[in-house]
């Protein structure tokens, strides 16, 4: 974890150093995403540095507030040691799920033309909150009712070591005005719940379950 944070900070520092002319731009976006029995709404703000001779590369840091809601989704065992092996992964079925997440985030983009840019943004670290939900823990042909709450702490790590609720988007944006654009994106949103007790006991105790939502999103961006 510490190594990853160091890498991220290094990238940002390099970006900042390269932006010696203080050639920066700020983006704020409102985005809605839709998937099968699920959706999300998010508000984000990025302070971006323009890089390169042509200043077409953008790297930015900022924050994002995401509200996720879904129904009747299976959440799988979240710890990397369980998630990487289907035979070790159990399920948490939540009839209703609703998570609010506030995360620091990173943005990378390339300005194709004056009108278009493409990019990728991803949450890095933050907090989640939301109500406790009734659900069912499923282990093979056995099951039991349980309760679960959003995992409080979010952090982006490598592979399945991520924790909590983390939003990310691959997007293309069209600026129909100099300071206004619309964004179409593929949103990949990790959501995670923690059960009241470690309902999974085999092969190891576990109370964290993750759902990976894949959605299409549409947003509007304001350039500040």
């Amino acid at each position: 974890m510490r190594a990853n944070v160091t890498v991220i900070l290094s990238i940002l520092c390099i970006g900042a150093a390269m932006a010696q002319e203080e050639n920066t731009t700020n983006y704020g976006s409102l985005t809605g995403a839709y998937g099968e029995r699920e959706g999300s709404a998010s508000v984000e703000f990025f302070h971006n540095w323009k890089l390169g001779k042509s200043r077409k590369f953008l790297i930015g840091i900022g924050g994002r507030f995401t509200s996720y809601f879904g129904s009747d989704h299976y959440f799988s065992s979240a710890p990397a040691s369980l998630a990487s092996d289907d035979t070790k992964s159990d399920s948490l079925l939540l009839p209703s799920s609703n998570i609010f997440a506030l995360n620091a985030a990173i943005n990378l983009a390339y300005r194709i033309t004056d009108k278009f840019d493409v990019g990728f943004d991803i949450d890095a670290i933050g907090l989640s909150f939301g109500g406790k939900q009734d659900g069912f823990y499923l282990n093979g042909n056995m099951g039991q009712a349980t309760m679960a709450s959003p995992t409080s702490f979010n952090v982006l790590l490598i592979g399945n070591n991520d924790r909590g609720t983390l939003n990310s988007e691959f997007y293309i944006r069209y600026f129909f005005k100099e300071n206004l654009g619309i964004k179409v994106a593929y949103q990949y949103l990790f959501t995670e719940y923690t059960t009241d007790t470690a309902v999974q006991q085999v092969p190891e105790a576990n109370d964290r379950f993750r759902h990976k939502a894949q959605m299409v999103s549409l947003g509007i961006t304001k350039v500040f």
Partner: protein
């Protein structure tokens, strides 16, 4: 306001989904072979529907040749997606064992009960829409 609208939409989505016939349970009548005259009846109960769903018939637990089975005969149920047959400690699936997909919405059907299941604790038979966590019907056996 937002929460109310969201909740309403989710409820409507669930109701619509549980009545969705695209991935419904087979409706062709089944007639599993099981001779009750050579088996010992352990428990039984009458099936009844829940809410707007219709489930009728009798659920019986038999022991035969050292194995236990659940027999649904006669049996008829409303259709729905992802219908399972549960044995449960309560009528709301507090702790349960999934005996498998409901084979058909009508006809005589037999389900194996794992040897580890305590049928005195798992005394409820549930016809359960797993994907949407909706009970279609239940029987309390005794």
């Amino acid at each position: 306001m937002f929460m109310q609208v969201r909740s309403t939409l989710l409820v409507l989505a669930v109701l619509a989904s549980c009545n969705n016939t695209d991935d419904a349970t087979p409706a062709t009548p089944v007639n599993n072979n099981f001779d009750v005259s050579s088996a010992t009846l352990l428990r039984s109960g009458m099936l009844m529907g829940s809410g707007s769903y219709t489930v009728t018939g009798t659920a019986s637990v038999y022991e035969s040749n050292g194995s236990r089975v659940l027999l649904l005969d006669p049996f008829a149920s409303s259709n729905g997606p992802d219908l399972k047959v549960y044995l449960s400690t309560t009528d709301n699936a507090a702790s349960f064992v999934n005996l498998g997909d409901l084979k058909s919405t009508t006809g005589k059907q037999v389900y194996s009960i794992p040897s580890t299941v305590d049928i005195t604790q798992m005394k409820f038979v549930l016809i359960w829409c797993q994907q949407f966590s909706v009970r279609f019907g239940k029987a309390e056996t005794s």
